[in-house]
């Protein structure tokens, strides 16, 4: 129904002058659009730059992904059609990299969320030295990823002088044994070792987010529930946990984005050996070790598309983060 039709029905006794006043918003809208455009104009170069800087490289990557281009064979460069994409999907090592990426992400995000929540629940209580404990708990997240990977590889997991085997030796010696088990962690449990180092780094992050959620919890509601006779478990189950849901989802989302892209831990601790090569490492190996620009680009494009599909699905369907916006 347009306003011109509606006007006589709902406001039959308006004077022509009043009618003009009524229509004025349209002109104002046009003016404010012009105004907005004028204000945006100085921003245009910056926006073009952003588009060029972010989208052009991706466009070039897409073009290269259809090319036969190995930098070490300059004379054989040409158009490859879908060959690179075919080898992305048929290559066994790419498929296992997809699987490794999924396992790594799910395990690391899941475990660090659970641990982070437990620690946050403990830190939410008041006790002496809470500030100091909180700072220490955050420390692993502040370590540079490369340094953390090196620390785990050499200081903790080394079979001869690592801390883990040292502790085993010590514990066994308490019981008078001189032949403690000396586990070659990176060789026997390579993926677990990488996961442990990442969980160690990401638990503090999850803890911070959940702690923020806990501290924004309205205390009067909890008090009311307690008055009504709810126990600690019931309060957690029906009040705290639903309140935390959005924070847990945010932690899970941010964590997943970073763990899917993880490179440092895999590169340094195992160099992609023993089934730990994830997608970023595989693309790195294709690009820098094989110098196969075409195939590496195709792998990159597939990863980006896959990530977009999964992220969209997770955000729109499963997550409650955007609920408010959709309801509006």
């Amino acid at each position: 129904m347009s306003p011109t039709e509606a006007t006589p029905v709902h406001a039959p006794d308006l004077t022509p002058r009043q009618r003009t006043t009524y229509e004025q918003p349209q002109g104002a809208a046009a003016r404010s659009r012009r105004e907005a455009r004028r204000r945006r104009l100085p921003l245009l170069p910056a926006m073009v730059l952003v588009v060029v800087a972010t989208q052009l490289p991706f466009l070039v990557t897409i073009i290269v992904s259809f090319m036969d281009w190995n930098a070490l064979r300059p004379d054989q460069r040409g158009f490859a059609g879908l060959d690179n994409y075919v080898s992305v999907f048929t290559n066994a090592s790419t498929r296992s990299a997809v699987w490794t990426t999924i396992v790594l992400t799910v395990v690391v995000v899941g475990v660090s969320l659970v641990l982070g929540t437990l620690i946050a629940l403990l830190l939410d209580r008041k006790f002496l030295g809470r500030g100091a404990v909180r700072t220490m708990m955050i420390a692993p997240f502040l370590v540079v990823p490369v340094a953390a990977a090196l620390l785990w590889k050499h200081a903790l997991l080394n079979p001869s002088f690592g801390l883990f085997n040292g502790v085993l030796t010590w514990v066994w010696s308490l019981f008078g044994s001189s032949s403690p088990p000396q586990v070659a962690w990176l060789q026997e449990y390579p993926l677990l070792a990488v996961e442990m180092s990442l969980i160690w780094q990401w638990t503090p992050f999850m803890m911070l987010i959940v702690l923020a959620g806990l501290q924004s919890k309205p205390l009067d509601v909890v008090e009311a529930a307690r008055m009504d006779g709810a126990g600690a478990l019931q309060i957690f189950r029906y009040l705290t946990f639903p309140h935390l849901r959005r924070y847990l989802e945010l932690g899970g989302l941010l964590g997943s984005i970073y763990i899917v892209q993880n490179f440092d831990a895999v590169f340094i601790m195992t160099a992609g050996a023993l089934g730990t090569a994830n997608l970023p490492y595989t693309i790195y190996a294709t690009f820098f070790q094989r110098q196969d620009y075409g195939l590496a680009s195709a792998q990159g494009v597939v990863v980006v598309i896959g990530t977009i599909i999964i992220a969209t699905f997770a955000l729109r369907v499963v997550s409650s983060l955007f609920d408010e916006e959709n309801a509006r």
Partner: protein, 465 residues
């Protein structure tokens, strides 16, 4: 013009992939940017001097010594400013391959090796050094050890790089432990004898394993020693016609032997142990033997090393062949598109000279001399005295290595612990993942090599005429 456009496209792609990789290449990129920036500054300072050279090199100790000695000696003498970019081995290879393949000319000189020279030169990325060598009588090309110089020639027979130092491989062992346990190292050990010795030496001292062998994945890690074992067991990566032989009985037997030996009597966590881990194990008394690069002896015999003077050295163990040491050299190559070729040669001529070795000896001691390239080094009485424990074995290992005929059958491309074709690095790295997995017990040798056969065949096809 075409070259410049190609360089532009290549750097765009690099930028694009850097975005896609979410910072994977951050470290390498950042460092080379730093190098370039430093170059800019330096050119301002040295205006009117003897020009400048940009050098990208690996961060090995010998190169770091070179960096500290350059300004006071080379630059002071010639007025040529040298801008160094120093990166770890893997990163340096990546950066060099990217810069040279685009002929971007960011670096004039790069540390390459006898692996890259054959195909870098046939792609036209390296400057021909013949005329420089001819005009520079002082350089004395005749003094360069023949096997090393041969590895740095292109298909056309011209020289495309000059060595900074060279190495072969040999067996290092704890002479004191052997004596204590009543073990005798044969003069020319076979692999079967070494396996028996490893079994006897395993556990002679508490916590001491029989032998350290690299098991870490990577073409330059596990496959460096393993390929020499394959060679002497009668195997090869490719036959004459570039058909892959990776799951041939000899290749499988050699790999099975290697995996069994390191699993039964090797260092703990062998699937993750590379050169550095073995060097550590050897110096800390964790192993009785170690088969690896001759250049490791310098570290074992250095002042302050706990095993200084306790080591014995034997030639690389053999089976079917008379010798089996590998051959490798870190060498200086000049980029074809470089505009500072004359200055670049002056730098190379100085860094690879006998005079430079003497300078290092004078300033830092004979143990740190970048040896293994010049015959005169091994005739020098001072070096003979300083490196008495290992210099003869090193020289013999280098001169007895034959990169063109390292096994029992004719080869399609040069190389002992590698095959000098562009596809080798990527292919062998992927195959090495299987070997590492076999050492860790995740897969069998046969399975890993059957998979490797397929990868190698693909790489071979690309090289068939």
């Amino acid at each position: 013009m075409a070259a410049r456009r190609r360089a532009g496209t290549a750097s765009l792609i690099v930028a694009g992939l850097t975005v896609a990789l979410a910072g994977c290449a951050g470290a390498g990129g950042g460092s080379s940017d730093g190098g370039a920036a430093a170059g800019g500054d330096a050119s301002g300072d040295s205006a009117g001097g003897g020009g400048e050279v940009s050098v990208i090199m690996v961060n090995n100790p010998q190169m770091e010594d070179l960096q500290t000695l350059t300004e006071e000696n080379f630059t002071a003498e010639t007025g040529i400013t040298v801008n160094f970019t120093v990166l770890p081995e893997n990163d340096v290879r990546d950066s060099i391959a990217t810069d040279f393949s685009a002929q971007a000319g960011q670096y004039d000189v790069a540390t390459i090796s006898n692996y890259e020279v054959p195909f870098f030169s046939s792609n036209g990325w390296l400057a021909n050094l013949d005329s420089y060598v001819e005009e520079d009588a002082e350089f004395d090309q005749g003094d360069i050890l023949e096997p090393i110089a041969d590895g740095l020639r292109g298909e056309d027979g011209s020289l495309y790089a000059q060595p900074f130092y060279g190495e072969s491989s040999f067996l290092m062992y704890r002479a004191d432990v052997f004596e204590e346990a009543g073990l005798v190292m044969p003069e020319n050990p076979t692999w079967d004898e070494v396996a028996a010795l490893a079994e006897q030496a395993d556990g002679v001292r508490p916590g001491m394993d029989g032998i350290c062998l690299r098991g870490q994945s990577g073409w330059g890690q596990v496959f460096a020693p393993l390929t020499t074992v394959v060679n002497t067991f009668g195997g090869t990566w490719f036959d004459e016609n570039f058909d892959a032989q990776v799951n041939s009985p000899e290749f499988v037997e050699a790999t099975q032997f290697y995996v069994d030996l390191v699993t039964a009597h090797g260092e703990p966590g062998a699937a993750n142990a590379g050169f550095t881990e073995c060097l550590n194990a050897m110096t800390q008394g964790g192993v009785a033997m170690w088969y690896d690069a001759t250049s490791a002896a310098g570290s074992l015999e250095a002042d302050g090393s706990p095993v200084q003077g306790l080591m014995g050295y034997a030639p690389a163990p053999v089976k079917e062949t008379d010798s089996s040491g590998w051959l490798y050299s870190w060498a200086w190559g000049v980029q074809e598109s470089s505009t500072n070729k004359d200055a670049a040669w002056e730098f190379i001529s100085w860094a690879s000279s006998q005079e430079y070795e003497e300078l290092v000896a004078e300033e830092l001691g004979w143990a740190r001399v970048p040896a293994g390239k010049r015959a005169s080094t091994y005739e020098n009485p001072e070096y003979q005295e300083a490196a008495a424990a290992f210099y003869e074995q090193t020289q013999q290992a280098i001169t007895s290595a034959d990169p063109l005929d390292p096994g029992v059958q004719p080869r399609p491309a040069p190389g002992i612990q590698f095959v000098a074709i562009p596809e080798f690095a990527g292919m062998a790295t992927e195959v090495s993942l299987g070997v590492s997995a076999a050492i860790a017990g995740q897969t069998t040798v046969q399975e890993a090599l059957d998979n490797g056969q397929q990868l190698a065949q693909e790489a071979g096809e690309a090289n068939k005429e």
